[in-house]
């Protein structure tokens, strides 16, 4: 099986803390990591490779430092790593990003399955996976928690267990397809010493630019993005509150008084 995994380098937004004195966010020194759900994607790909043979290619669009996550992918056991990097790719929204990835995947050629993490912890959109499937005109199954490959007649299929909230769907699609996985899907393995040695020895990370993937210049980067950011604001969590002290009885009374004053009523009885 030829599997492609799309990965992204992101700031570790789950580790952001608040400065206790100023109440503002500590933004300095937030490390760059591989997007958590992309690790689940790599693990799912490697699991399928262990079962069915074949190769796993990791691909990422980003600036040069994104090579770090591709190197990590090689250390985890992927066979090939490709970085799409070009000034012209910068400023891309999800549509332009998906287009760029699709151009590269068309260049890679033959593939059976694309596995993507459901969403990235910086953009939080969960859009690139489905839009990539759209550009390649292949089936998509999102929120996949379990999967297996089956054959019927001359074709191979993926049978996936997909969770839409409380609704559990068993969906089958003909390969090639794209699936997105979530953190519940599996437990990503840690790199091993052997893995790290192989990852550094094995291969070079291939770097491709706009011309290499024959991407149309008006569809990539900022120019190719229908959406753009008008303004941003860091969230400050602060309220002017009142502190109450005293015996538990007194505190309980104060709480009730507060609720009565603000006319807070429950709505359902359990």
């Amino acid at each position: 099986m030829n599997i492609i995994v799309t990965i992204k380098q992101v700031p570790d937004t789950l580790a952001i803390t608040v400065d206790p004195e100023t109440g503002t966010l500590n933004r300095k020194g937030v490390p760059s990591i591989i997007n958590p759900e992309d690790k689940n994607a790599i693990e799912a790909a490697l699991m399928l490779k262990r079962k069915h043979g074949g190769s796993v290619t990791a691909i990422s669009m980003g600036p040069h430092q994104a090579q770090d996550v591709l190197r990590e992918a090689l250390c985890l056991g992927v066979d090939r790593a490709i970085l799409l990097t070009d000034e012209l790719f910068a400023g891309a929204d999800t549509l332009a990003t998906a287009y760029t990835l699709s151009s590269a995947i068309k260049k890679i050629g033959n593939f059976d399955l694309i596995i993507a993490g459901h969403q990235a912890i910086d953009g939080d959109t969960a859009q690139v996976g489905p839009q990539l499937a759209g550009f390649l005109n292949i089936p998509q199954i999102t929120n996949v928690v379990d999967m297996k490959i089956s054959a019927s007649g001359n074709h191979y299929y993926i049978e996936a267990k997909s969770k839409f909230g409380h609704l559990v769907r068993k969906v089958r699609a003909k390969l090639p397809s794209l699936i997105t996985v979530v953190k519940e899907t599996n437990r990503p393995k840690y790199t091993t010493i052997n893995g790290i040695l192989n990852g550094y020895r094995k291969r070079e990370i291939e770097c491709w630019n706009c011309d290499d993937i024959k991407a149309a210049k008006h569809r990539i980067g900022l120019i190719g993005s229908p959406t753009s950011v008008l303004k941003t604001k860091w969230v400050e969590h602060k309220r002017k509150g009142k502190t109450i002290k005293g015996s538990p009885e007194k505190i309980a009374d104060e709480i009730i008084k507060f609720m009565e004053k603000k006319e807070i009523k429950g709505a359902y009885s359990i």
Binding site: P11, T13, L14, I16, T17, P20, G23, L25, T94, L95, I121, G123, D124, T125, A126, Q127, P130, F135, I138, P139, Q140, T142, N143, F164, G165, H166, L167, R169, K170, R172, A216, H218, R219, T227, S228, V229, L230, T232, K233, W234, V235, K238, R239, G241, T243, I244, P248, I251, I255, I256, F258, M259, K262, I264, K265, G266, A267, Y268, S269, I270
Partner: protein, 404 residues
């Protein structure tokens, strides 16, 4: 700027025709031509194997003719005979935006045998209810729904299209946006119409909820967005007797239009926490100490008519089910009152509850960040305070309204 087909390069192979979401490519004899239906979305530019299709100005950004797109469409997500609550929440926001921008609101209902749902929609002040019915639309399948929705956009050319950011909405909306080559903003929590430009200002959290970004889609239409459930309110029903017009969109689907097949669908029977609708939430964190201490919170919740929530720490410690988790990787809630018990107030938790109207924090650590965002801050032992609170509530018969 225009899209041009080079007569000298065009061989009449017709490969470009299916690439246009608006059916604007027409054969005139042996040559492909682009007619007035073209919206400059750019989807055809790659379709010609002979490179005959190009922009009149290569490097200029694609700008669609936005003036021909009007009105606000809301996708009414439904399953098993029920309308998803978020779709109704979207309607109320759509009405607000429509008023400000002098547009109309239409509901889009896709499925099989959805007439009873359209009856329910008549309660609201909609201009139009567009129904796309077909047996092949009984269960959600990505490509079928995408084709139908794309066709509706093509026919009606709405300026704004809103979806709930449910798992289904987030599966469908990007594929639709891809089909019509327009911009999509995910998980919005606020909208406004810019007075000068008339653009939809789409505000949404990024960086794990720490950054609020306002996004615009300047030159492409429709402006599409998925919207976070639980942020907007259900609209008031209108008994004005106004007749909303129901239009049936003709659906042409075959067996081959599906790209995937549903083998089985089942509702997972797990503990269900009605946090989205709760007016009061009583929430516990690491400070609860152990699983059985959550009984205190369940008792308090019962006394108040509240729901029980938790921080991630309590879920990870297996004290309570993930269903109750509030925060960046859990649910987002907007109750009138959030009582945080033994919760430190990490940023990731705040991302899920900071929009609560009032916050009461009970945490014996006075340095806990939760105290900074509480309206009523209590540095004390929850194991002393909560039992007293329950007693007081039961004694004073604190009013609970059953508001189903």
């Amino acid at each position: 700027m225009k899209i041009l087909i080079d007569k000298n390069k065009c061989t009449g192979c017709k490969k470009c025709i299916p690439s246009c979401p608006y059916d604007a490519i027409v054969m005139k004899g042996k040559l492909a031509t682009i007619d007035e239906r073209c919206t400059l979305c750019g989807a055809c530019l790659e379709a010609c194997p002979f490179d005959a299709i190009a922009l009149s100005n290569q490097m200029e950004k694609i700008r669609m003719d936005v003036s021909s797109f009007k009105d606000i469409f809301v996708f009414i997500e439904n399953s098993h005979g029920k309308i998803e609550r978020v779709s109704l929440e979207l309607l109320s926001k759509a009405f607000e935006l429509a008023k400000v921008s002098k547009q109309k609101v239409a509901a889009v209902l896709i499925g099989d045998d959805v007439k009873s749902l359209s009856q329910e929609l008549k309660k609201y002040n909609l201009n139009k209810i567009i129904i796309a019915e077909h047996e092949f639309l009984k269960n959600y399948e990505t490509l079928r729904f995408t084709k139908v929705f794309g066709g509706i956009i093509k026919k009606y050319k709405p300026s704004i299209v809103l979806f709930g950011a449910t798992p289904l909405g987030r599966d469908l909306a990007p594929r639709v946006a891809n089909m019509v080559q327009t911009g999509l903003t995910a998980d919005c929590t606020e909208f406004a119409i810019d007075k000068e430009s008339g653009l939809l200002l789409q505000t949404r959290p990024a960086f794990g909820g720490n950054l609020m970004a306002t996004i615009v889609c300047r030159d492409h239409r429709p402006q599409m967005a998925t919207v976070r459930p639980g942020v907007f309110n259900i609209p008031t029903t209108s008994s004005s007797g106004k007749k909303n017009s129901v239009e049936h969109f003709e659906v042409e689907l075959t067996q081959n239009d599906a790209q995937s097949e549903i083998i089985e669908e089942a509702i997972e029977s797990i503990e269900h926490a009605n946090l989205a609708n709760a007016k009061i939430i009583v929430s516990g964190g690491r400070g609860m100490g152990e699983k059985r201490n959550f009984k205190l919170l369940y008792d308090l919740a019962k006394a108040l008519g509240a729901e029980v929530g938790s921080s991630r720490a309590a879920v990870d410690a297996l004290w309570i089910d993930h269903e109750h988790q509030i925060g960046q990787t859990g649910k987002t809630v907007q109750p009138d009152l959030y009582i945080a018990c033994g919760i430190s107030g990490a940023i990731q938790h705040l991302a899920g509850m900071s929009n609560s109207k009032y916050i009461i924090a009970i945490n014996k650590d006075k340095e806990a960040p939760i105290h900074k965002i509480a309206d009523l801050s209590i540095v004390g032992d929850l194991f002393d305070i909560i039992p007293k609170l329950i007693k007081t509530i039961n004694n004073t018969k604190y009013p609970i309204t059953n508001n189903c």
